[in-house]
């Protein structure tokens, strides 16, 4: 079903659930922990690539 539901002023305003403070890592540039985990995996992948290049360079 398409179309937007008209807002009724008689309805109580929808209450957003309180955000869980544990969901915010408090690290600049990261909104949630998933971002941190992806960064760690990406960093690890870069380290493996660099180690591979290092091995190939010095052989």
């Amino acid at each position: 079903m398409s179309g937007s539901k008209p807002e009724s002023s008689s309805q109580p305003p929808s209450v957003q659930p309180e955000p869980d403070p544990d969901d915010f890592p408090g690290v600049p540039g990261f909104k949630n922990w998933r971002g941190i985990y992806i960064f760690v995996i990406a960093f690890f992948a870069v380290v493996v690539v660099l180690l591979t290049l290092f091995s190939q360079h010095y052989r």
């Binding site: 403070p21 922990w33 690890f44 180690l51 290092f54 091995s55 360079h57 052989r59």
Partner: protein, 575 residues
Amino acid sequence: MNTFDWVVLLGTMISIATYGAWHTRHTNHLDTYLKGSKTTKWGTIGISVMATQASAITFLSIPGQGFESGIGFVQNYFGLPLALIIVCAVFLPIYRKLGVYTAYEYLGNRFDAKTRLLGAGLFLLQRGLAAGVTIYAPAIILATVLGWRLDLTVIGIGVVVIVYTVTGGSEAVSLTQKWQMGIIFVGMVTAFLLLIARLPDGLGFNEAAHVAGAMGKLQAVDYSMDPEKRYTIWSGLFGGLFLSLSYFGTDQSQVQRYIGGAALREGRLGLMFNAVLKVPMQFFILLIGALLFVFYQFQPAPVFYNRVEWQRHVAGTHGAEFQAVEDKHAQLHAAKSEAIRAWLQVRHSTDAAAETAAREAMLAREAETQAVRQEAKDLLRARDPLAKIKDSDYIFIGFILSQMPHGAIGLLVAVMFAAALSSKAGELNALGTTSTIDLWRHFRPLAAHDERRNVRVAKWWTAVWGLVAIAFALFAGFAENLIEAINIIGSIFYGVVLGIFLVAFFVKWVGGTAVFWAAVISQTAIFAVYFLRLRFPVLDFSYLWYNVIGCTGCVLLSIILQLFLPRAPRKATAQ
């Protein structure tokens, strides 16, 4: 070591231990004593996790590993980042929400008392057995090369760590580990820079790395699928994930480091700090070993690096035989140095054939010297069946003592002691905590309300485990390969314990009775495999597989047993 070295060594070690004990001397709250300060930030937690894992053997043996086998050992840590992410996302939030002191307390919450006791018992057995080894391993090496008495070295390390660990508990452990890791970082960077400075003229880092690479020491990543190969990216990712998940997720010596802190965020960031830094750090330590190998290609190198052991035999009744092997090695080593210099000269030329010929000549000389080194070890074993023929642990400390300036020697020996104390402190802290929370309080539930009494009991247990470790190190005869001994002990128990935790977290419908008996059967099977391996060759496979067998056996058996058992009512958990 001269007076200056002694001042550096004793000054750093005693001041850190005294600071830790003094700063935490009024710790009377159980929460602070067992979990550390509630204000601990992620940096301290991260360093504490790192310091607990990095023992003195890490800094004595791993450069030797880089020297002997190259830097491929770094792949063993490839499973660690993913394991730490799993611990962050699954294990840590549950531990914190339940407010447990130990990982095994969670098992009691999720299953029942007997499963909790089993988990705690397996941990105490495994860590208790390893406790003696972790104090003996650095002591035997340091006592040998420094000419100290082994018993006094063991007692010295043990008493210092007992004093501040008993006094301040987990808070003192984290506090001292921060400073000890500072000493370790400064010491290892100093060693690296001095090593580069000691290379022959005209041989900088780049040329030295080319020599190491040409000699097969810088193969960091091996994509081979050959199961015969010991270190590959696949064994590192798979086996490393398994081992790291067991160690960081279920071993109380690690769990205790990160469950405290100001908030969940601090523990998580502390673990992510390790997930990012651990692989580069291990690479750096291995690289020091590979560069040490290059250094000794241009120096008169010993045929056997445990010089005390070797000289004892040279001075003995078969001294002439040992001297002959030493002389033969010296000649071949000199020829190898020439071959390496010849290769370096043609390396930049456009004559590919000349480069290939020089490289092959260099590798041939290397194979000859390695053969003589093996001949020396065979001779040692033939003349003295009790002789310790593994000398790679003595390479780095030998370099420190013979090549470094005074002051730096004291600093680097302090690195070894700092690592020994920091890992030992984490271990004792965990043994004391588990004994108090999972054993003593279980059998004396009424005592749980008397906080001061709990702290006193935790202090006593910590001291008892420290004394057990010292006694074990003084009176037990250990296997020569101590790292392997620790790994074997760990692998025998880790798999089953991880299996129990995986069922707890991920197979919600399995109850305590099923997982308890599955764990007992799996652990018995692992013991049987271990003790019967010499009688039945089919069972004589790598001990790393004990982890896989123990874990999968425990998980599968739990599920199968639960099918035949009545469903237990769900206990309240944090999920």
